[in-house]
């Protein structure tokens, strides 16, 4: 006796229980195996690139914050670097250290959210998530002490940063870094020996090395496939060539490797912050003087940084006036999204949802 089967189209709608944002997928299922995935997005498209052409350069900095709202300070950096190169503005040394410290703190708190919401997808309903938010709240409080904001910081300026560190900031940051290894050990004991976690993540969502390069993925997704490439070490910007840090690289390209890479990167970021606090000069200016309405000479440039999700770049064209002519952002989450079709087809539906969580999307960046 044979069954008559037919394929069924399931709509995983724009609202999600995890913090993945407004993203819609149409999944074609045969039983429980995924046959085809069609991603549909654009629900958060605000036209940021066109809006920036109608505002002055300085008014564009808060608009870049709203691109990848989970890790907001990193988005200011390539735009500010591009304008500084075209206009010939120099950044004082103390301001470079402050930028690095804030960006690495943001990397740690972004990875906490990524791993926490991945655990949500696996069924541990907000347990690991709330433990990780315990640390993320401490980091958010520290950043509020410096910038005055909890989420859209608007901290970097052309030629430096907007405010100096208050005198309570550095001792409190050092206190956080002293207890940080104890928290990391707590998470490793919770996760890496857990049978359910190991059987749900090992061998799931495998991406080969050739595919990872062909699909232009970047960040932890590229490094999990065995490609040893990190913009901070290989095409360095700012003062990253002064710090010693390791770049974790995975072997198998599965979901276990991606979570492991994010946990290891958090430890490396804490080490970079410690080195920066030790090497930062005590005296010095934190911003070069720049005219209020800035006219940037004509030119075209492209600058890239390593954000928690991958390679974030800014392509800037200017025509000599006080507004940009064209500003485009190379968004890593938008391009990593192309890998979904390759990763999800052929797996069961529950494994497909876990794979989708491990790519770590942020919809503000995908739609712009």
């Amino acid at each position: 006796m044979s069954f008559k089967t037919e394929e069924y189209v399931l709509n995983v709608g724009p609202q999600h229980p995890s913090t993945h944002g407004v993203f819609r997928m149409r999944i074609t299922l045969d039983g429980e195996i995924v046959k085809d995935v069609e991603p549909i997005f654009g629900y958060l498209h605000r036209g940021v690139e066109k809006l920036m052409e109608m505002r002055t350069y300085k008014q564009g900095i808060p608009m870049t914050d709203r691109l990848d709202y989970v890790s907001a300070i990193n988005n200011n950096w390539p735009y500010v670097m591009a304008v500084e190169e075209l206009a010939g503005i120099e950044v004082p040394e103390k301001a470079e250290y402050m930028r690095v410290i804030m960006a690495e703190m943001q990397r740690i708190s972004s990875h906490y959210l990524a791993v926490g919401s991945q655990m949500n997808d696996m069924g541990s309903f907000y347990t690991v998530f709330m433990y990780m938010f315990r640390e993320r709240e401490k980091l958010t409080d520290l950043m509020e002490m410096v910038t005055g904001q909890r989420m859209m910081y608007n901290y970097m300026r052309f030629g430096g940063v907007s405010q100096d560190f208050p005198k309570e900031f550095v001792p409190l940051l050092r206190k956080f870094l002293r207890i940080f290894p104890k928290y990391m050990k707590e998470y490793e004991d919770l996760l890496y020996d857990n049978e359910i976690y190991l059987s749900r993540t090992k061998g799931v969502g495998i991406l080969t090395r050739e595919d990872a390069i062909n699909i232009s993925t970047s960040g932890p997704v590229l490094r999990s496939a065995g490609v040893d490439f990190d913009v901070r070490r290989d095409l360095p910007y700012s003062i990253y060539n002064k710090f010693k840090f390791d770049v974790p690289v995975g072997k198998n390209g599965d979901v276990y490797d991606r979570v492991w890479i994010r946990m290891e990167e958090m430890k490396q970021s804490a080490s970079i912050i410690e080195q920066a606090l030790d090497m930062m000069p005590a005296e010095g200016k934190y911003q070069t003087k720049v005219p209020v309405v800035l006219h940037v000479p004509e030119g075209k440039t492209y600058k890239r940084i390593e954000s928690p999700r991958g390679i974030l770049g800014c392509y800037l064209e200017s025509d000599g006036s006080d507004k940009p002519y064209r500003c485009h952002f190379r968004a890593p989450a938008f391009i990593n999204l192309t890998a979904l079709k390759k990763l999800m087809v052929g797996q069961t539906l529950s494994d497909a949802i876990i794979t989708f969580g491990s790519v770590d999307l942020s919809m503000g960046e995908v739609d712009r």
């Binding site: 654009g42 390069i213 699909i215 392509y315």
Partner: protein, 145 residues
């Protein structure tokens, strides 16, 4: 760092020796739009630039300027290629059959700027909704409101 720059200069020299239509200078290579497929395939297979990083476009009144950046992950260098298409006939070959990573980026440029990529298997709007008329990132776009 200096070794990376030397490899990059050698690549620009080799590229302009290989194809006579290449013009280099100021840190990028400029080519005519018909030869984009030939040039990027040579860079991928012979020179090791197999990671396509970014495609973007901008509107310069009589023509559209297109910018492609590629990275060599083994030698750790990057290369920038520029080309342009005329405004009356904005068409260029698609790279999505060689690099899957070009798929969404070319759809976004078609959606917002109106450049048609020949050979793309699924060229439809991606960020705006399906019934939208016009291409908003062009300089002469007027909103209906």
């Amino acid at each position: 760092m200096r070794m990376g720059k030397e490899i990059k200069m050698k690549t620009y020299d080799a590229l302009s020796k290989q194809f006579e239509y290449v013009k280099t200078g100021n840190g990028f290579a400029e080519i005519p739009s018909e030869n984009i497929l030939e040039c990027t395939e040579w860079l991928k297979n012979e020179a090791g630039y197999d990671y396509l990083e970014m495609i973007t476009a901008s509107d310069h009144n009589e023509k559209f300027l297109l910018v492609y950046t590629l990275i060599n992950v083994v030698d750790k260098t990057d290369i920038i290629i520029r080309t342009s298409v005329p405004r009356e006939k904005p068409e260029i070959d698609s790279l999505s059959n060689i690099w899957t990573g070009a798929d969404f980026q070319e759809r976004e440029i078609f959606d917002l700027m109106g450049i048609v990529f020949k050979g793309h298997k699924n060229l439809k709007r991606i960020v705006l909704w399906d019934g939208f008329e016009g291409h908003p990132q062009r300089k002469d776009f007027k909103d209906v409101i």
